[in-house]
């Protein structure tokens, strides 16, 4: 029981911060936003291949570094802190997590190895045009060959138009069984699959919409078994929620730090505005929310590691993930909103980072479930719907 970062973890954070300072920052961000890719290939090469971040938290069986969810969370917190644009979360936070839960050992290495080597940008297509968690818009019909046919669509797919590999969650066509889900590993340029980049409010986290028009899926593209991915996918998404929460946490701290810095410089009424108690107290409340979120993220990351080691339960994982997402979504949204408010007019201009944090906070808040949805998961997990014990007394 030691809930503090090890010196090695602190070193990883330092290195990540240095990398982001070099490859991220406001000017680089502007340049990436001005382009159409949504990331800087050179920076991605440095991150994925030279620094090996995509392999860092991968199992050694996939030629990964063997580190865990805590180290991955540190990296994502640091990239999130400066809104660093890259498919790192999509690849290592999301796709790799799904593969590790849904594909049996022996099968998963096939996909994980190129990811770990930094050679494969991967992502996942999980929801329909509503963007609501669990609302799947893709349908799969087995054809008896071990593969089958994929129809329908998926939206809100992070980097879905440039990813080398898209994990598509599909329901059995015509089935009412909510759990009859198949996970399909679809390579880029699969015939019948088209992807279109969406124009979104938050431009720092690009989504694509994918359409599947009679896509032929071979047996080798089925992750795990046909119609059996439901429970494992749910757990995989929970692992991904923790990674995503870490990225949000970084965004929250980044927005807060930028605002604190501005409030120390900006003079109005002959004083730096950070000397006004109303400003100080708002910033203090933001730090309270950020520190709570930080506790939640790293506890959840430890829980992921324990879950993988078999010393935490699936319920522990589900709760820790939902809790981290609630705290991080709200901390980031608050910090993003206050970044604009406390910067005043300037924070509201297109050129300023404040509005980028704000929009990113909003889109991140609803990705993979808004806080209300996560709270409802927690309400079920803590037993609000369990039957009352027969001996329970009535009301007073």
């Amino acid at each position: 029981m030691q809930f503090a970062f090890t010196p090695e973890q602190e070193m990883i954070r330092e290195a990540a911060r240095e990398f982001v300072a070099g490859h991220g920052g406001a000017d680089r961000l502007r340049a990436v936003l001005a382009g159409s890719r949504g990331y800087d290939p050179g920076a991605w090469q440095a991150l994925a291949v030279e620094l090996g971040w995509t392999g860092l938290a991968m199992p050694e069986s996939a030629d990964g570094g063997g580190l865990g969810a805590v180290e991955l969370a540190i990296l994502l917190e640091e990239t999130g802190r400066r809104l660093f644009m890259s498919p790192f979360f999509a690849t290592s936070g999301l796709a790799a997590a799904l593969l590790r839960e849904c594909a049996p050992p022996g099968q998963q290495e096939r996909w994980l190895r190129p990811i770990a080597a930094g050679e494969c940008i991967a992502t996942a297509a999980l929801s329909d045009d509503s963007g609501q968690p669990g609302a799947i818009g893709a349908r799969f019909t087995p054809d008896g060959s071990g593969g089958g046919r994929l129809e329908g669509h998926a939206s809100f797919v992070l980097y879905g138009d440039i990813a080398d590999l898209v994990l598509v969650a599909a329901r059995a066509a015509g089935s009412q069984d909510e759990e009859a889900i198949t996970l399909i590993a679809l390579p880029r340029d699969t015939s019948g699959s088209t992807a279109k980049r969406l124009l979104t409010m938050d431009q720092t986290r690009p989504y694509a919409r994918l359409v599947f028009d009679g896509v032929r899926v071979g047996a080798g593209a089925i992750v795990g078994a046909i119609g059996q991915a439901g429970a494992a996918l749910a757990r995989g998404v929970q692992v991904a929620q923790v990674a995503f929460a870490a990225e949000q946490l970084g965004g929250a701290f980044g927005a807060l730090e930028m605002t604190v810095e501005y409030s120390r410089q900006r003079v109005q009424f002959g004083r730096v505005i950070g000397s006004f108690q109303a400003i100080k107290h708002q910033l203090a409340d933001l730090l309270v929310a950020c520190e709570a979120a930080k506790s939640a993220v790293y506890y959840a990351a430890c829980t992921v590691d324990e879950y993988r080691a078999g010393t935490a339960s699936a319920r522990d994982l589900a709760e820790a993930a939902a809790l981290a997402r609630c705290c991080c979504s709200e901390a980031f949204m608050q910090c993003g909103a206050h970044a604009i408010q406390l910067h005043g007019g300037i924070g509201f201009t297109w050129e300023h980072e404040a509005q980028l944090y704000f929009k990113r906070a909003r889109s991140a808040m609803t990705y993979l479930g808004a806080p209300d949805w996560h709270r409802e998961q927690i309400a079920r997990l803590i037993g609000l719907d369990d039957p009352l014990p027969a001996t329970a007394g009535g009301t007073r």
């Binding site: 730096v272 408010q341 007019g345």
Partner: protein
């Protein structure tokens, strides 16, 4: 205290409604329902002139300046009917609601005769020169300088400096500018309130792109800009008093028109919630009801403000009005996004154009900043309405 209208007032309502219907189903049908601030500009400028010709532009003003000496009840009725008819947003509102009333209250007869009829007729449009990059919340820190010079046609003010957050500047013939006219003066002392023509060599406009992607605001650069010595409202050095007086006009009849715009946004939100089923979500229902309450409260409080006397200090219901509506609309924007869900984050078209509700979400973030941030509003309420000690400046 009574709410109803007399028979004569109901007849007036009928007259307004008939004229508006005739115009907006006839010559001006193309701009019925137009809300965007910089949409259909030419037709809306023509609409302003049509209002002026029929004496509907400034009905509360004295008849000699183009008004109708209308009673409060009549002004309320006109505002209601204007909105009900779907008449477009007023391009002339800065002249009609701010410059005009200021000149009416603080100006000389000569200024009134020169400026008011042209405002009433829709022949001259205005913009506002208050904020500067280093004088946002702290208006008393303005640095834009004005000095009197002898000129061939009499004395003239010569103005140098920069204003910002100036909306509609690109369509304005005139700007009212708060300048430092006494060299070496500090704070509220030594300021003057000048009326300056926009179409001259010494005035440059540079648009500011904002969070919504639109360019509504502008920076204005004064580089030896000139105006007549007689175009100072109030005495030279009394600019602070005049500028503060303007603030009171922001709590005037125009609030009713503003509420009608809010009502329109609220109705759109309800329609969206009913269409996508979120109107059945108990959490959303509570928030929609709360938004409705706020909308009604704004109406009731505006009626209180308008029914009260205008003399002396603003009463508490007027001092609390700005923060109330600004906070309300900010919450409405958040609610709209929660109703729309992730689908609301997808843009309608390039370049960065959104449906009304998401755009309102973004635009609302400036409501709590401009015309006095929420923080400034709370200072004002605490100091003027509750009599608590003033916040000390740092430079005195």
């Amino acid at each position: 205290m009574k709410l109803g209208f007399t028979l004569a007032e109901e007849a007036f309502r009928h007259e307004c409604a008939a004229w508006l219907e005739e115009q907006l189903s006839g010559p001006f049908r193309a701009i019925r329902g137009v809300t965007g601030l910089v949409a259909c500009v030419e037709q809306r400028l023509e609409w302003e002139r049509a209002l002026g010709r029929a004496r509907w532009s400034v009905i509360g003003w004295p008849a000699r300046y183009g008004g109708r000496d209308a009673s409060l009840a009549e002004q309320v009725i006109f505002a209601e009917e204007y909105a009900r008819a779907g008449a477009p947003g007023r391009m002339g509102h800065l002249g009609v609601e701010l410059a005009g009333p200021t000149i009416l209250q603080f100006g000389t007869d000569a200024q009134r005769e020169r400026f008011l009829p042209k405002i009433a007729a829709g022949e001259e449009f205005w913009c506002q020169g208050y904020s500067e990059p280093n004088a946002g919340s702290d208006l008393a820190s303005v640095r834009t300088r004005a000095r009197l010079e002898h000129g061939p046609d009499g004395d003239e003010w010569v103005i140098d400096g920069q204003k910002t957050w100036t909306s509609l500047a690109q369509f304005a013939q005139w700007i009212f500018v708060v300048c430092r006219s006494e060299e070496g003066s500090r704070g509220p002392a030594g300021l003057s309130y000048l009326l300056v023509p926009m179409q001259q060599k010494g005035v440059t406009i540079r648009p500011i792109r904002q969070i919504t992607g639109e360019e509504e605001f502008n920076e204005i650069f004064f580089d030896g800009a000139r105006t007549r010595a007689g175009y100072c409202v109030g005495r030279p050095g009394d600019g602070w008093k005049v500028a503060m007086g303007t603030l009171a006009f922001e709590r005037g009849v125009s609030t009713l028109a503003q509420q009608m715009r809010f009502r329109n946004e609220f109705d759109q939100l309800v329609a969206a919630a009913r269409a996508n089923g979120t109107a059945r979500d108990p959490l959303i229902r509570q928030r929609i009801a709360e938004a409705w309450i706020g909308l009604r409260i704004m109406r009731y409080s505006a009626l209180r403000m308008l029914s009260g006397g205008r003399e002396g200090a603003l009463p508490p219901e007027a001092l609390t009005y700005k923060i109330y509506w600004a906070s309300w609309r900010r919450r409405l924007g958040e609610l709209a996004m929660d109703v729309l869900g992730p689908a609301g984050e997808i843009a309608r078209a390039e370049p960065y154009e959104f449906d009304d509700l998401p755009r309102m979400f973004l635009a609302s973030r400036s409501d709590t900043i401009y015309a006095g941030t929420n923080e400034i509003q709370r200072n004002i309420i605490a100091e003027r309405a509750l009599g608590l000690p003033r916040e000390p400046r740092g430079d005195r």
